[in-house]
């Protein structure tokens, strides 16, 4: 493919976003209505869902916070970081430390997790000035191993294999699962809304410009170094919060759960949902976290021998499926589920309103 053609492809890639907006304009009321409906659905779910489903929903909320943070650094700012598991571990350990030993209240401890993770994130940003692009992957991978090593030592010295047992939150007479659902759900919704808006501010614009071309971004007056530090801090803060919430929710923080597979599952969320898209982070989290439960559900429909095979290998199958999804989306649809859904949405909308949508005709 020649450079000219490539450029053309990029331009049309950008142009594909514009029709979405024009479709929005034609459906000015539909989008907010959809959001309100979704919000109401989130509110009433605890009244109709069983506790199994609630537990899945809480895991998804935590993953949404983490994947929004990961997607900010990976998809928006274009910094190839695979440090998510390390940053989550740092967040979880800082939360455990402050909650168990300093007796900080829930929110303060979780915030401490976010801040600790952000500090480490800024420390990564400093080599990120020096090492560019792919070298950053190596640096964050090295960070993962060093952090795992140090935290394993720390855990062994403090509490041993059982891990840090966090104080149980009490909710009076309320069902703890439902309370967790509302607390973590509220934080996830706030994170999603704030990030959606942050990306439209001058900071968000600067971050995505940086991913396109650092030199040009600097020329138009963005202080690239400062913005890089800022985006690492914000992203790591969110990932740390996700780690802290995870620790508090499960009640037990051990280094064993923060594996490279976990980091890759967060990258999978971003790639499957759509790099750089907040809606994509949410969809990716739902896909990756919901997948094993879907596999389990499917298992019940199968004959006994296959069902036994499936249930023996649920974890492996899950990773295989999202590994295939990473490869497939990268090769065939780089913009992820978010793009597929929004296309389906605008086609459906144009059919409903009896007009040929710009999107449908341009494709």
């Amino acid at each position: 493919m020649s450079g000219q053609e490539t450029k053309q492809a990029v331009l049309s890639g950008d142009a594909n976003r514009a029709p979405e907006r024009s479709a929005d304009r034609s459906s000015r009321l539909a989008r907010p209505a959809l959001f309100c409906a979704g919000f109401l659905a989130l509110l009433v779910i605890p009244f109709i869902a069983n506790s199994y489903f609630l537990a899945i929903a809480i895991s998804i909320f935590i993953a949404v916070i983490g994947s929004v943070g990961t997607n900010l650094i990976l998809g928006v700012a274009g910094q190839a970081s695979i440090g998510t598991a390390a940053l989550m571990a740092i967040g979880a350990f800082a939360t455990a430390q402050t909650a168990v030993y300093y007796h900080w209240p829930f929110l303060a401890a979780v915030l401490a997790g976010g801040v600790a993770s952000a500090v480490i994130g800024v420390l990564i940003a400093i080599p990120a000035m020096r090492v560019r692009g792919l070298y950053l992957i190596i640096a964050t991978l090295a960070l993962f191993y060093v952090a795992t090593f140090l935290l394993t030592r720390y855990q062994a010295a403090k509490v041993g294999d059982t891990g840090f047992l966090l104080p149980q939150l009490t909710f009076g007479n309320l069902n703890p699962l439902v309370s967790w659902y509302y607390i973590i759900g509220a934080i996830a919704v706030v994170v999603v809304l704030v990030m959606g808006n942050l990306l439209r501010t001058r900071f968000g614009r600067a971050w995505s410009a940086m991913a396109r071309d650092e030199v040009t971004t600097a020329v138009i007056g963005v202080r690239v170094r400062a913005e890089k530090i800022r985006v690492f801090a914000v992203s790591s803060f969110l990932i740390g919060i996700a780690g802290g919430l995870y620790g508090y929710y499960t009640g037990d923080v051990t280094i064993g759960v923060f594996t490279l597979d976990l980091a890759i599952s967060y990258i999978a969320m971003c790639v499957i949902g759509g790099l750089g898209s907040v809606a994509g982070s949410v969809l990716g989290a739902v896909f990756v976290i919901g997948l094993p439960y879907l596999v389990t559900q499917l298992t019940d429909q199968l004959p006994a021998t296959q069902a036994a095979f499936m249930s023996n290998h649920v974890f492996d199958l899950e990773v295989v499926v999202y590994g295939i999804a990473i490869v497939g989306f990268l090769v065939w649809e780089r913009r992820g589920l978010a793009h597929l859904l929004s296309r389906a949405y605008s086609i459906a909308w144009s059919r409903l309103s009896g007009r040929r949508g710009t999107e449908a005709s341009s494709e």
């Binding site: 792919l134 991978l141 090295a142 071309d213 999978a268 490869v327 990268l330």
Partner: protein, 299 residues
């Protein structure tokens, strides 16, 4: 303690040999297409399992199994480029950061698929391949003990390294590969089959990974854990210089020595961390490594 110094050196020699072979798998792909193949670790494990299956089920002699497994891996490497990487490298011309690391993320996806398909097929229990090498023991220096397997694998590593270096420096294909890595567009317009070159590079890298995995499993076991050596072998490549195939050998020796001395001095548990500290230090002090060319960015 002179005894521990000798222990460390004796441990470093076979490790360095494995690092050279596995490091070549990383460096060849990076040299050809400027990406990291994070499925290298899984290629290593896959190669070892293929050899294991051939010896166990087909009762093929161990040395023939090595060749057949390496050939099968060459096919898998070539297919990876043909089916997946080609499409992504086509799209990476748009210059955005996301497009430049998409192929690397893809190799993570590939790694996850291979790793867990293997885990479904073989479980995690260790399997064994008998070593085809005689069990002679050498004492090159007082206190340093080497088996003949160590020596033979060391020679294989040196031959593969020397062969790769000479091939890339001197042969027509090697020159085309360097041209394709530098300026894919220009290379393709001057009649070089860039895709063909990359297919060759992926096949060669997969062969290196298979040889590394199989020879390592002779003295160890066949299990998913030997993929560990694959991720660790990135360190010698970084130390030697990512885009320098020549640098793999000095890099492997430095990392193997650093690792073995750290393990002897501070205990086995610091081994992995020592490797990572070496990587971080190189990245901060001299990102291009010992022999790598400094990258110049032009807007």
């Amino acid at each position: 303690m002179p005894g521990s110094v000798q222990n460390a050196i004796a441990a470093a020699i076979p490790l360095a040999a494995t690092y050279v072979i596995a490091g070549l798998a990383w460096a060849i792909i990076f040299r050809a297409s400027k990406i990291f193949n994070f499925a290298t670790a899984q290629f290593i494990v896959l190669g070892a399992y293929l050899a294991y299956c051939l010896t166990r089920d087909a009762h093929i002699p161990v040395w023939l199994a090595l060749i057949l497994a390496a050939a099968a891996m060459a096919l898998i490497g070539a297919l990876t480029q043909t089916i997946f990487m080609r499409r992504l490298l086509d799209a990476s011309g748009d210059g955005s950061a996301q497009a430049s690391f998409a192929p690397v993320i893809l190799t993570f996806g590939l790694a996850a698929v291979i790793e867990h398909v293997l885990s479904i097929s073989f479980g995690t229990g260790p399997e064994y391949i008998a070593s085809p090498f005689p069990k002679t023991i050498f004492h090159p220096f007082s206190g340093v003990v080497l088996t003949s397997a160590n020596v033979i694998i060391g020679v294989i590593a040196l031959v593969l390294w020397g062969g790769s270096v000479l091939f890339i420096r001197l042969s027509k294909w090697g020159m085309q590969m360097r041209a394709a890595a530098e300026q894919p567009l220009l290379a393709s317009q001057s009649g070089i089959n860039v895709n063909g070159i990359l297919i060759g590079a992926w096949a060669a890298a997969a062969v290196m990974a298979a040889i590394a995995g199989i020879t390592y499993s002779y003295s160890s076991v066949v299990s998913p854990d030997i993929g560990n050596i694959g991720l660790r072998s990135l360190a010698p490549v970084i130390v030697g210089g990512m885009d320098s195939v020549t640098g793999v050998l000095p890099g492997a020796i430095i990392v193997a020595l650093a690792e073995s001395f750290a393990a002897v001095g501070f205990g086995e548990s610091v081994r992995d961390a020592a490797v990572q500290v070496v990587i971080l230090a190189v990245l901060v002090v001299r990102p291009s490594g010992l022999l790598g060319g400094a990258t110049v960015r032009r807007p």
